[in-house]
Structure formats: structure tokens, C-alpha cells
Amino acid sequence: MHLSFATAVIEALIFASSEPLKVKEIAGILGLAEETVRELIRELQQEYQEKRRGIQILEVAGGYQFLTNPDCAPYVEKLKKVPRQPTLSQAALETLAIIAYKQPITRAEIETLRGVRVDSSITTLLERGLIQEAGRKDGPGRPILYVTTNDFLKYFGLKSLDDLPLVDDWSNNQQLAINLTAD
């Protein structure tokens, strides 16, 4: 095995391992002497160090592991605890409610129900991972269909969509409304 390929494999192994990886295990997988492995790791570490990259290989608990560069920590932290998102707007909430109860549903159908454009609330909900696209509806223009995600269930503490509290059936109500005005 070329040493440059061995270095690539070591990089991959350290990256994919769920725990700090011991030189012994790497040497066993590659069929190389532990000393050779240790030398290659040292070169890898140096390479990351010199270039001042975002990640580096460090020795931790008797093994080697990728960690982010401490200089980047303030930014990585923002990633970890995504700052408490502003509460969903009333508009987004209404759109989400319609999608939850009426999915799969198209943008146009939501707009009919809400009586306003819903582009921005759809964007917000997509961004927050609460809804997703799910194919297209048959018919003219083949509009995109929206459904709620598994994360939607998770955030609202629901096991399944059947756990959504019952609300008097929409279609019946509409029927009713039509009947009432027709009388």
C-alpha cells in the first residue's frame, strides 16, 4: 500500500470511528507497523495544523479523534444550540395548522382557505423542518404537495398524525356553511 493512500485511509478511519481510535486498531486494519501508523498520524496532524483549518486530529483518551479548531468554537456553538427561534408567527401557525389537518395539500389550496398568499409562511415552515414537499398533485400545473415532517410530530409531542386533537371535521363544516347560506 502506498503511504499516501494509507494516510487517506487513516484519516477516514479516525473520522468514521465513534470513539477515539487507537493506533493498535489502525495498524491491525492496515497491516502496518504501529510505529509507521504513528508517524503517518503525526504528518496528518501537522498538515491540518499548518493550514490552520477548521478541524484537527488530536490525541484523546489514548486514541485519535477529529475535533473542531478551538478558534472556531464561537461559531460552532451557534450551531449547537441554535438560538431559540422566534416564536412562529400567527400566519405561519395558521398555515401549519391547515397543512397538519389537511395534508397533503397544495399552496393554492392553503391560500384558498386562508384567503391570503402563504409563500413566506411556507418558506419559514420548510426552513424550520416542520413541513416538506411530497411529490406533486395530478392535474393542471402539477402543483407541489406539502405534508408535515416527522420533526413536526416530535416537536409537538405526537406519536402519529392520528394523535392530533380532533377538531370538528373541516369538510363537514364547509358543507354546513353552504347549506346554511343556501336556505
Binding site: 477516514a12 473520522f15 468514521a16 470511528s17 465513534s18 477529529f66 449547537k80 444550540k81 441554535v82 431559540r84 427561534q85 422566534p86 416564536t87 412562529l88 400567527q90 401557525l93 395558521e94 401549519l96 395548522a97 391547515i98 397538519a100 389537518y101 382557505l113 386562508r114 424550520r128 423542518g129 416542520l130 420533526d151 416530535k154 416537536y155 409537538f156 409531542g157 405526537l158 406519536k159 392530533l164 386533537p165 380532533l166 377538531v167 370538528d168 371535521d169 373541516w170 363544516n173 364547509q174 354546513l176 356553511a177 346554511l180 347560506t181
Partner: protein
């Protein structure tokens, strides 16, 4: 060598009757649009005798296709109705009894092609390892740490939906739709009465006890009102846990 091949016992597992049919057609190098139905039916039945089924349902799926094949065979063998007799209205020619089967086979052929595309994508994708041994290993943690809904609760969501319903429906109360027995104040009173004797009520149990849809809606709205007035509180012991209602305590 060629002879040896014919003696080989096929151990291939078929994914269903369409899969088996497709195999027979491809093996015989027959035009799928012009299936010799007698021949194929015989072969299909011969296979069926040799096959072992894991369960009744699987056998039923294969038998249903056998019945379909025999029906098509019978229709093919019957004399065609005279054309002058029944003026064809929609198409020039009468429908070939095989047509529907051919269409299903063609669709299934696509399914198989797509499945094998996915399979090679899967094989390819499995060569790429993510950090720490699995895409999904820390999905739960990731989900718990970010909070896409902010302060919004399930109740807000349901309330939004209910409000929308109301705005769409002309005031039902005016039309006398909800009877007196489903009035929201009554339901509020009954929830509070129940909470005086029981320390807590399960949300599910509360709604399950209601006889009609109107009763459920009235009870639900009553509950929302009580929450709004801070007379009761709702909470969950754990994510996915039961929603429990109890008296609001300062």
C-alpha cells in the same frame, strides 16, 4: 453446457405474480404486447405447483393472478362478437382481453427497473461513511437541541385551526346548531367538577368519553377556555407522553 442449464432448478424467489409472469415472458423472449396466453398460463400454473409459499396471503396473491390468466384465456378462446352487432363507439377495435394485464406488466417492469436503480444507489452510498458511525446516531440530540417552534405549543396549533374553522363557518350558534347540551360553559363546569374529585384527567380519556363530534368539540373548546383562564393546566410527563389535565395551582 446449454443442456446443463435446463436441468438447473431455479431457486429464484419471485416478488409476486407479476414478477413471475415477467420472468416467464422474458425467458421465452415473447413480445410483451402479444403474449401467447395459453402457453404462458400453462407455464404459470406449472410454476405455481412447484412453489412453496410462506403464508396464505402470498399464495392468494399468486392464485388471484392464475384466475386472471385463466379468465383472459377463456375470453380469448371464445368467438369474438360480430362487429356489426355492436357498433363500437369509443374505439375502432374491440379491447384485447390481454390489454390490462400488459399495462400492469409494463408498469411493474418500471418498478423493477427503479428498484434496481435504487439498489445500486444504495450500494454506492454505503461506501460513504459519515462521522461517528451513522447518519442517524445523534439525530435525537440534534432535534432536541434546536427548537423550530419556539414558544408555540400543540394547543396553539389546534387553536389556530379551530379559529380558522370558525371564521369559515357562519356562526353556528345563531343557527342553533350546537344543542344546549353541548354548551361550552356547561362543559367547562363539568371538567372542573371532575377535577374536584380526581387530581388529574387524561386528555385522551376526557375526549373519549364524549358521545358525539359536537360534544367532543364543545369539550375541547371548553378545555382551551379553561387553560386560557388559567383554571387548569396541561402537561406531559415526557415527550410523546399522555397529555394530562390538572387544576391550576399557584
Amino acid at each position: 453446457m446449454g443442456e446443463q442449464k435446463t436441468y438447473q432448478i431455479r431457486l429464484q424467489v419471485f416478488e409476486g405474480p407479476l414478477d413471475l409472469l415477467l420472468h416467464l415472458i422474458e425467458r421465452a423472449e415473447i413480445d410483451i404486447y402479444n403474449i401467447p396466453i395459453v402457453e404462458i398460463t400453462d407455464q404459470y400454473l406449472a410454476y405455481l405447483e412447484k412453489m412453496q409459499f410462506f403464508n396464505l396471503q402470498e399464495a392468494a396473491d399468486f392464485l388471484l393472478m392464475a384466475a386472471t390468466l385463466m379468465q383472459i384465456k377463456a375470453r380469448m378462446l371464445l368467438p369474438r362478437p360480430v362487429l356489426e352487432d355492436t357498433e363500437p363507439e369509443e374505439g375502432e377495435e374491440e379491447l384485447d382481453p390481454r390489454q390490462e394485464l400488459v399495462e400492469r406488466l409494463l408498469e411493474y417492469k418500471k418498478v423493477k427497473a427503479l428498484a434496481s436503480e435504487l439498489q445500486s444507489k444504495e450500494a454506492e452510498a454505503l461506501k460513504f461513511f459519515p462521522r461517528a458511525g451513522g447518519f442517524f446516531a445523534d439525530r435525537e440530540i440534534a432535534a432536541a437541541s434546536s427548537d423550530p417552534v419556539g414558544e408555540v405549543t400543540l394547543w396553539d396549533l389546534v387553536q389556530a385551526f379551530s379559529a380558522l374553522l370558525e371564521s369559515l363557518v357562519p356562526r353556528l350558534e345563531l343557527e342553533g346548531m350546537p344543542r344546549e347540551e353541548y354548551s361550552i360553559p356547561d362543559r367547562m363546569e363539568s371538567i372542573l367538577t371532575r377535577l374536584a374529585s380526581e387530581p388529574r384527567i387524561c386528555f385522551r380519556a376526557l375526549l373519549a368519553g364524549q358521545a358525539t363530534r359536537q360534544a367532543i368539540v364543545a369539550t375541547f373548546l371548553a378545555l382551551l377556555e379553561l387553560i386560557r383562564m388559567r383554571k387548569v393546566g396541561v402537561y406531559q410527563d415526557q415527550v410523546f407522553g399522555e397529555i394530562v389535565i390538572q387544576r391550576w395551582e399557584e
